[in-house]
């Protein structure tokens, strides 16, 4: 944690060796869990990689999952830079879905490219709005953002049930979901463009949002490292007191950072609601908001790291589905366990190996100096 120990290690160790070591331990323990269940972990890994990357349809699914995780991962990462723990990406994405569904249902039947910009805007606006209240309460009233965003996740879930049951569900049906959007209004699947080129994406719901996710990563990098706002966000995150002396208003920065974070979470909904499900479903976010926490921790809150970590989690999700199919004993809950271990070792225990490594490098340095 402290600045003095940070200098003791070469950057490569800090930014590559330690994260990889933490990840390796998380996967090692996951392997032990698989072993305890009575399956071969190496075989499991082989099935997962084949299922996620071995054929075009698998790759399509992997990228589709990764798209969701890039949005929520970036959302959590931006908040991290401002020193905030946004545990509410799940709820913000849920509200984003409401925005997307309202747009798609109002313009039902209109061509998708016309509706698309409005859907993007609505998803971001609704997600940001849901992040605003916790942000405001943290910045101006001093309430803890972790608790408030947790509460807002539950409020979002309750609101969603109410909206879907009382307002949006088709008359005569009991299922809490909106009506399906017209074909023309849905985002096209990439498989429709790639089949003529001989690439068969099968049933994978990969859609143009994968490119938006890439753009979002670039955007976050630009904002955080290349703008005045980004400088302010990082300053407030590192040291709010120093920020005040530098003429920065931390309350203002906290609110803006959370609005960006909420907007990014909201974008997930375009991928899911307009691009995949084509209707508003209960719990369509399906935990992606929480995967965002793992992804941001693993990617060390850097957009490039977030993209890499999202791809890894995309592989885990798609490969895990295949694995559960091949080996029913290893159900998809194994992914949740792996996710937990990644959060534990790459997050809460991230400095566990640091003292040992510092000692190792000190000894080498002393030996080198002694030899000179």
């Amino acid at each position: 944690m402290s600045a003095s120990s940070r200098r003791d290690l070469p950057p490569i160790v800090d930014y590559a060796v330690i994260p990889l070591l933490n990840l390796a331990v998380a996967f090692l323990i996951s392997g032990l869990v698989v072993l305890a269940i009575g399956e071969n972990p190496f075989e499991a890994v082989a099935i997962m990689i084949r299922g996620a990357l071995g054929y075009p349809e698998g790759v399509g699914f992997t990228l589709y999952y990764a798209t969701d995780f890039v949005f929520t991962g970036l959302a959590v990462a931006v908040a991290f830079h401002a020193g905030l723990f946004n545990i509410g990406a799940e709820g913000q994405a849920t509200l984003g879905g409401l925005g997307v569904a309202l747009v798609c249902l109002s313009f039902d039947g209109a061509p998708w490219w016309l509706v698309f910009p409005f859907a993007l805007a609505a998803s971001m606006a609704f997600g940001a709005a849901w992040a605003f209240v916790p942000a405001w309460a943290q910045a101006r009233r001093g309430s803890h953002i972790v608790i408030t965003t947790i509460m807002f996740n539950y409020l979002a879930a309750t609101l969603m049930v109410w909206v879907l049951v009382e307002m949006m569900s088709e008359p005569g049906t009991m299922s809490p979901e909106s009506r399906t959007f017209a074909e023309a209004t849905r985002l096209p699947f990439l498989r429709e463009f790639l089949t003529p080129w001989g690439i068969d994406l099968g049933q994978s719901p990969l859609n143009p949002m994968v490119f938006v996710a890439g753009l979002a990563a670039v955007f976050v990098w630009l904002v955080v490292w290349r703008t005045r706002l980004g400088f302010e966000i990082r300053t407030v995150g590192k040291n709010p007191t120093a920020a005040v002396y530098a003429g920065i208003d931390p309350a203002h920065v906290v609110i803006v950072a959370m609005l960006i974070s909420g907007a990014l979470s909201g974008l997930l909904a375009v991928n899911e609601v307009m691009g995949t499900q084509h209707r508003l479903l209960l719990e369509f976010v399906a935990g992606a908001g929480f995967v965002g926490i793992a992804v941001a921790l693993m990617g060390r809150s850097h957009p490039f790291g977030v993209v890499l970590a999202s791809l890894l989690f995309g592989i885990l999700y798609q490969g895990g589905a295949e694995l559960a199919f091949d080996k029913p004993k290893i159900s998809r809950d194994m992914i949740v366990v792996i996710q937990a271990l990644v959060i534990l070792f790459a997050g809460a225990l991230e400095h566990m190996f640091r003292p040992a490594l510092v000692k190792l490098f000190d000894r080498r340095r002393i030996r080198a100096e002694g030899g000179a």
Binding site: M1, S2, V33, I37, G38, F85, I87, V133, P134, A137, R141, G142, S143, H144, V146, I147, T148, I150, M151, F152, Y154, L155, T158, L159, V161, W162, E166, F290, I293, L297, K329, I330, S331, D333, M334, I335, V336, V337, I338, Q339, A340, L341, I343, L344, G347, A348, L349, E350, H351, M352
Partner: protein, 327 residues
């Protein structure tokens, strides 16, 4: 409506509110112990879930609710120690560690349940002798009071719960007495407000915090066991359904004080019972109120309270801050 009819109507709701409040109360007191010592715990949900699973499995294996309770406590104390190791020894981020524990429990319970029992993550249905059942004590009070009015309140709301319900209520004054009337309690609270001072006095900050975290694990163990071995007859997937987070809300609501925690949990339990009771039935004068309004109230109240609109809820000063000697 005359008072007797009202009490007749209210008594079952009060009783069910109390039963719904019990897991919240155990978890809320667990959070109180942990956070009073300076360790923020958003992993209450996960520990409760792990305990519920372990208790369900052990009660089915050894045909005894007490075996279930022991296993439940063991499972949740283990997770509490993981959280303690991460946040006390490794000085890691406590929110991150709590999140990890929630996921670990959510994943492992269903994974193991599926491998062991093959029923979609359930544990086997428990028989009557394997559960904590309603205690049969009355002391002749209901004959004295009759079946209506006060009598209904006695028999439906106060008497005839299982032993864990009374244990939860007893845990409230016990927690208060230990934390506010013993030297150990004073030190434990001090370590959550000003660890430097405790350290300077020659008392180990880490050891106090570890003890608090273990008590937290024991209490979440009771909470989880209550769910799978007393309230229901076995564990089902995602059995806690956010109760750990409602308990966290109740803790904020209670301003980190035991008797307030009792009141807050009873309030939230009662809201839950009322929402179940009112499902589909209109309230006279208001009309039909969506169930979601009652479900949302605990969260809304907590947000409003935290924002300082009704009183001020201030956590222990050092909670969430890892302790480092050199500063």
């Amino acid at each position: 409506m005359d008072p007797t009819t009202f009490l007749d109507l209210a008594a079952p709701v009060l009783g069910s509110g109390l039963r719904l409040a019990v897991p919240l109360l155990f978890a809320c007191l667990a959070g109180l112990w942990s956070e009073r010592s300076g360790v923020v715990d958003i992993g209450l949900e996960g520990k409760m879930l792990a305990a519920a699973f372990a208790a369900g499995a052990a009660a089915a294996t050894w045909h005894s609710p007490w075996a279930g309770l022991l296993a439940g406590i063991a499972a949740s104390v283990f997770l509490a120690l993981v959280h303690g190791f991460a946040s006390i020894t490794q000085r890691g981020n406590q929110i991150v560690s709590g999140t990890a524990i929630n996921f670990l429990a959510a994943g492992l319970t269903v994974l193991l349940g599926q491998v062991w029992y093959g029923q979609g993550g359930r544990t086997p249905q428990l028989g009557a002798s394997e559960r904590f059942l309603a205690l049969d004590f009355d002391f002749g009070v209901s004959r004295l009071l009759g079946g209506h009015g006060i009598g209904a309140v006695w028999s439906e709301a106060l008497a005839g719960h299982n032993i864990l319900v009374y244990a939860a209520i007893a845990a409230v004054p016990l927690t208060w007495w230990i934390l506010w009337r013993t030297r150990f309690g004073l030190r434990l609270r001090a370590v959550g407000d000003n660890p430097q001072a405790v350290d300077t006095a020659g008392v180990s900050v880490a050891s106090l915090r570890y003890r608090a975290v273990i008590v937290c694990g024991v209490l979440t163990g009771f909470a989880g066991t209550y769910l799978s071995v007393a309230q229901s007859a076995g564990f089902v997937r995602d059995m806690t359904a956010g109760k750990g987070f409602i308990a966290l809300a109740a803790l904020v609501f209670a301003k980190w004080k035991p008797f307030n925690a009792l009141a807050a949990c009873l309030l939230f339990g009662l809201l839950d019972a009322v929402s179940i009771r009112l499902q589909g039935t209109p309230i006279p004068g208001i009309g039909r109120v969506p169930v979601q309004v009652f479900q949302a109230l605990p969260y809304l109240l907590t947000v409003v309270l935290l924002a300082g609109f009704i009183g001020r809820s201030i956590p222990p000063k050092a909670s969430g801050v890892p302790y480092t000697k050199d500063r």
